[in-house]
Amino acid sequence: MATAVKNTHTKNMLLDLKIMGPILALIVLVLVGAAMNGNFLSAGNISNVLSRSAFIGIIAVGMTFVITAGGLDLSVGSMAAFIAGLMILVMNGLLPTMGAGWPLVMVGLLTAIVAGTAAGFINGFLITTMRIDAFIVTLGTMGIYRSLVTWLADGGTLSLDFGMRAIIRPIYFDGILGISWPIIVFALVAIIGEVVMRRAAFGRHVAAVGSNDQVARYSSVNVNKVRMMTYVFLGVLVGIATIMYVPRLGSASSSTGVLWELEAIAAVIIGGTMLKGGFGRVWGTIIGVLILSLIGNILNLTDGVSPYLNGAVQGVIIILAVILQRDKKAEG
């Protein structure tokens, strides 16, 4: 009894640090940024940071579910590039018959969502039904999608028709009440994700499967279905992120979405979700995403440190986050 009481006590204190850690880091970054550059807290800069965070952020919300269920998806960056390429090809291809306009944009959006769903389903099918390790499956599909987009673009860049670009531009650059669409979509995805994780049966099942899939199975949870759904959700969210991304540049190439998977995974881990599964929190992931993009932003705005060191600083933050959140009762 004594040990149990003591454990829960120290655990509570650790839990506090675990909860507060990412928030404190974010506050420190904001203060540092504000101190270093007067423009940092301007509406323009904040809007810019948030809009750019939206792609990774939307994907990272889905990644939180995959990782919490004990899985992993390395293919999301390539998947985004492939979906972007596909979306552009479909819209360019249908342009002569449908003409430039919103109906064609709708077809493009639908393409992205369907392709994302299908890609997520393929990953999920191979991992659950075929019982191949998630790391291997998504390493494979990562290579496949990257190679496909390079092939579709013939080694170069796939560009959306100029007329269409003008039409879809507002999806990234406009918004309501001065808040751009990517930020609105990101916020919606984040809120829905947080509610599902915390309050829906699906979120509870995801954590149970990641914690111990045998216990989940013996408790009448359909483990394969839960796993499958996490990958399909992630695929859909990659599709949505791509919809936000394509209007920004109007093109896709083999360098689109490179390393997005690692940034998304890093954001999830910084946010306090356990890499081995069983516990995840979406709001932590959002903070993780903001921390990563703020680092880049601050390095760009200040003269002291070269922006080329962005990756190094991010790397240090990721490792620090994991050290701080480590379970202290590791065996001696």
Binding site: M1, A2, T3, A4, V5, K6, N7, T8, K11, V195, R199, A200, A201, R204, H205, A207, A208, S211, N212, Q214, V215, A216, R217, Y218, S219, S220, V221, N222, G278, F279
Partner: protein, 502 residues
Amino acid sequence: MSDQLTLSLNGICRSFGPVQVLHDVDIALHPGQVHALIGENGAGKSTTMKIMSGYLAPTTGELTLNGVPVSFMNSQDAEAQGVVLIHQEFNLADQLSVEQNIFLGHEKTRGLFLDKAAMQAETRALLKRLNCEVDPSARVQDIANADKQMVEIAKALSRNAKVLIMDEPTAVLTTREADVLFEQVEKLKADGVAILFTSHKLDEVKRISDQITILRDGHVVSQGPASDYDEDQMATAMVGRDVSSLYPMRAGEVGTTAALEVSGLTVPGFAEDVSFTLHKGEILGISGLIGSGRTEMIEGLVGLRSATGQVRLNGDDVRFKSPSQAQAAGLCYLTEDRKGRGLLLNKGMRENLTLQSLPDFTNWLIDHAAEEVALTKAIEEFDIRAPTRHVAVGNLSGGNQQKLLIAKIMLADPSIVVIDEPTRGIDIGTKQQIYEFIHALSAQGKSIIVISSEMQEVIGLADRVLVMRTGRIAGEVSGADMTEDKIVRLAMGLDAQKEETV
């Protein structure tokens, strides 16, 4: 002789923070003697064993080896001096061979390379000394539990153990496997090894120990030669009250309508052509050696494994492809493996309690308030004792985990429950409570199947006992025929031979 050791604890006290868990414990382990340490869960047995073997230091008091005070720095230090603890949960690397496990961390080398020949020879010699016929090159994951226990002992002997401390060595063994273990224990005794073991099975304690120490709440409440005790006296000393009526009397009448009719159930590789009927309100026992396919047969029944055969539930033909289908029809299975398959150890009681019946608590979103109400009710109804409501389930004692697991299954409100090993590794007081729960459920009209390796348990609980052997029903006993002897004969196929010759 210098290769014999007497280990003594003198006035050992141990506190964790402000709470003292051991009070003035004196125990002496003599060469060639088996000393049993018994007590309820939480009485301080584990702490005592950990202090003996260097895993914990005493707060006050001293340890002596052959009369010389010692203080072990850690378990390696204790091992080096000949004191070895064998954990209840095997400490073996599943993927490595028997031989690799025995020499793990103490590999013999010749120059830069492993001296495989020498290690193999010594492994053979050790296993031979233990009368264990397991192949030294077999992977540990492929061998039986009893053999794993032997490998643990061989590992201890290879480190030259003079004092062997065993934490519930028979908890995962069948009666027959335990017999094999006890033969080896006799041999070790004859070799002058001092042995201490713990067990919840008092008949074993009576059978193999020379000395007995009974702990209650960290105090030694009784100590002396085993011949001075009978099982009732031990149990009474352990719990501090009379437990002579461990099994409750049958309260209700057994119904005559069939709740579950199984015929020709086959689970490929585990069970063949199993047929039986379970009546309303009945408690049906299933006995058999570990590996007889008891668990796998039931797992096939509830949709956890693929199976063929006919199943009728309350008269309707059913076929379950998943446990959720079985649950929807009112049939639930409570696993024997509460840590690996029953509970999420790093989650709280609330999440665990409602996991199996989450849809009942969900209307778009999970109703946390309703969950809390259910938890309060479960804590009360099943007397779950936890330090706080938010404690991780892994920090609960085994008995409380089992109670929570029962509460979890009952929340799904099944009409038929299969309970696999209801009291494995649980102290006698909690056992009694669990037996009462089971009887209360049957009195409510629920039909119950109890699978158990403990003969006493199935006999004490069940109205009828099915005995399984190598995947088949070897026979059924009921009424006055429900004796350990009958069941053992069926389980080991002694009667079957007779039938075949008729």
